[in-house]
């Protein structure tokens, strides 16, 4: 019995259906943006393909395992980048693709990529929500409480993502609008790369430290045969895999030790 449950939680609850709906709608929006950006065959085809994949994502989410949801989001993302590579720039120039001079609106493509990234995050959040819900339910926790807490977690994550989108748009507009700061795209890419490396190194160092300490206290030897221990074991497995750790490919690329 939870006496301290917040009154508003039930009303504001963000269920997993809402999360996946958000993900599907965002990827749909990216398809619509591409479709509506120009009356060309390429933009219309790409838009329709993205819309199709978005519906596929929605259908997959209703299956019992819903395993392919985030994969579809990644597929849309890869497809968009492939189209970008083939439509503009060096590849299109060298291979002389018959896409015409402006087969896609570049700004619409940029916005579309951003939306698909958002869709990737929300679909991953959906998968995480399902996984947690399943694990905790199996461990004998109160379903209502788990859902309530996971909803708070998802809501927080979505708010942070939306805040990041706003901030990203502001940075982008700032770079576009302010004339004296007009930097060419290559410089921006270099700056972004430096920022990226700084963040990635911080993240991977933290991960490495975590792997080295291996503190895993003796508390896991709990008396009750709760399934919570299975959750602990899973986290241990993760440590062995060393996500982004010393042996990770990403770690090798970035040269972290």
């Amino acid at each position: 019995m939870n006496l301290g449950r917040r009154g508003g939680v039930e009303r504001d609850r963000m269920e997993k259906t809402q999360i996946i709906l958000l993900s599907v709608l965002i990827s749909l929006a990216s398809g619509i943006v591409i479709y509506a950006s120009g009356p060309t065959l390429v933009s219309e085809t790409v838009g329709i393909v993205i819309v199709f994949f978005s519906f596929l994502m929605g259908i997959l989410s209703s299956t019992p395992t819903a395993s392919g949801v985030s994969k579809i989001a990644w597929l849309i993302f890869s497809f968009l980048l492939l189209v970008a590579c083939l439509a503009f720039g060096y590849v299109a120039l060298v291979l002389k693709f018959p896409f015409g001079s402006y087969p896609l609106n570049p700004d619409a493509l940029g916005l579309s990529v951003l939306l698909v990234e958002l869709s990737i995050i929300s679909s991953t959040l959906f998968v995480t929500y399902r996984k947690f819900e399943f694990d905790f339910k199996k461990a004998g926790y109160e379903v209502d409480e788990i859902r309530s807490e996971l909803s708070s977690f998802s809501r927080m994550f979505v708010f942070v993502a939306l805040g990041s989108v706003t901030l990203s748009l502001l940075i982008y507009l700032f770079l576009q609008i302010v004339p004296q700061l007009q930097i060419d795209s290559l410089s921006v890419l270099i700056i972004a790369t430096i920022v990226y490396f700084a963040i990635a190194r911080y993240v991977l160092r933290t991960k490495n430290r975590k792997m080295e300490t291996k503190e895993e206290s003796s508390l896991t030897t709990s008396s009750s045969p709760s399934k919570e221990s299975s959750i602990d074991r899973k986290s241990d497995k993760k440590k062995k895999n060393g996500v982004g750790g010393k042996g990770g490919t990403l770690g090798k690329i970035l040269g972290t030790k």
Partner: protein
């Protein structure tokens, strides 16, 4: 669990790399948006990733002395001022308690706001004993999985005493008339000591130290010996209960087995006898490494004496067998330990008591019981055996694997044959606790022990 979050982190790190490559190839400046967004997002999340700070207190809203079947209400107050992630709590409980309301495991997501929560749950006592409630455990899963999953404990110092449910037997319920006329007054009395001096004699094991006559002892040339004053003792007949704690007494569940029923029977019986000024002593079979003195209460009478017996039986646990070999050699063969028990032998010789052995008779312990009963009979004690049969308990919890030989379950008639192998002077009371009340068992035992109350 953390792997899922790590997937988000990896995604956020991979996205800008892929978009950067695509942006370079396509030379589309608008793709910068796709690079900035993941970096901003991960930067914000990193700024929120902090270690958790928790304050947890637990309070008890009911008495710390319960009876079996009564409920204990606990309330936990949780305060989390810092952290960003999921926190899982496990509040204390015991395997001998059943959660009847609420749950002792909770999960909380700590976002940007500090969290104050109050949880309460109820536990029902299933078995007698002293139970120490251990620590509150918590596990903090940081939202991004970048920080270590941290686990911690909050010490709880809470001891709950659960008393067994005994039956207060009234005289009207157990009125018996034995076929034999046995005087209520024992030939040798063994009640509390009076102040009437009888004589000085040599010290014997079990004599209170306060009766040592130091002056007389110092006068002796042989310094190894001590002398004690002997006083007249009060009391009527003496009953000694010997409770078996072997492996056979645990057949059934942890809460319903011959040992638990045996204890309830013993306490109810002892209370009745003490109410009639009869001296009652209790011996429980010692566990390996246990002090012998902690396993018996010398015969005496009075209400205080009942408390002494109750305290001892409250913490009586079955003798655990670590291996089948040990099971055979020790768990079943615990009764003959008393063949060498000096205090018991001395009291039997002094008072010729009625000895009530509470056990579960099977072919495994039949020989030991037979030998032990013969020894008691040689000391001229009256011996009664209460056989607490677990078959109905096992049948009630049919699905459980008790390890009992199948033929013993299917053929309770074999009991008759087994009883026939015991000495004839031993009166046997066969008790099926799932069907017969304690009162009925006590009544049968009184008849068997030829006691008219």
């Amino acid at each position: 669990m953390v792997r899922e979050w790590s997937r988000v982190v990896i995604s956020l790190l991979v996205l800008p790399v892929v978009v950067t490559i695509a942006a370079i190839i396509s030379s589309d400046p608008a793709l910068i948006l796709g690079i900035i967004f993941p970096l901003v997002f991960i930067a914000i999340l990193l700024s929120l990733d902090k270690k958790a700070v928790l304050q947890i207190t637990i309070s008890q809203l009911s008495s710390d002395v319960l009876r079996v079947g009564e409920e204990l209400k606990l309330e936990a107050n949780v305060s989390i001022p810092q952290g960003f992630g999921l926190i899982v709590f496990r509040f204390p409980t015991s395997e001998r308690f059943e959660i009847t309301d609420g749950t002792n495991v909770h999960t909380v997501f700590k976002g940007l706001q500090p969290i104050e929560r109050k949880y309460s749950y109820r536990l029902k006592a299933l078995r007698r004993g002293n139970f120490q409630f251990s620590n509150i455990q918590y596990t903090y899963y940081p939202a991004l999985g970048l920080l270590n999953k941290s686990e911690g404990i909050v010490p709880v110092n809470m001891t709950i005493k659960v008393l067994p449910n005994i039956r207060i037997l009234k005289k009207s319920q157990i009125r018996t008339r034995s076929r034999y006329q046995v005087p209520r007054q024992s030939r040798t009395r063994l009640g509390p000591y009076s102040t009437d001096f009888v004589s000085i004699r040599d010290y014997a094991v079990g004599d209170p130290y306060k009766f040592v006559n130091w002056k007389a002892s110092s006068r002796l040339t042989n310094q190894d010996k001590l002398l004690v004053n002997e006083y007249e003792r009060e009391g009527l007949r003496t009953f000694i209960f010997i409770l078996d704690r072997g492996e056979l007494m645990t057949h059934g569940t942890g809460e319903e087995n011959p040992l638990e029923y045996g204890i309830a029977f013993l306490l109810s019986y002892a209370k009745l006898l003490l109410g009639h000024s009869i001296n009652v002593g209790v011996w429980i079979v010692p566990q390996a490494g246990e002090k012998r003195s902690r396993n018996f209460v010398l015969p005496s009478s009075g209400t205080e004496h009942y408390q002494r017996i109750k305290e001892m039986l409250l913490i009586a646990e079955p003798v655990t067998a670590e291996s089948p070999l040990r099971l055979a050699s020790q768990s079943y063969a615990v009764l003959p330990e008393y063949e060498q028990h000096e205090v018991l032998i001395k009291i039997i010789k002094e008072s010729r008591p009625t000895i009530v052995i509470i056990s579960n008779v099977t072919s495994s312990n039949l020989n030991q019981l037979k030998r032990f009963a013969n020894m008691l009979l040689r000391l001229r004690a009256r011996v009664s055996l209460v056989d607490v049969m677990p078959y109905s308990i096992i049948a009630k919890h049919g699905s459980m694997n008790t390890g009992l030989p199948l033929k013993s379950i299917l053929l309770p008639m074999k009991k008759k044959e087994q009883y026939g192998l015991l000495p004839q002077a031993v009166s046997i009371v066969s008790w099926d606790p799932a069907f017969e009340s304690i009162g009925k068992a006590v009544r049968s035992s009184l008849v068997a022990t030829r006691l008219n109350l």
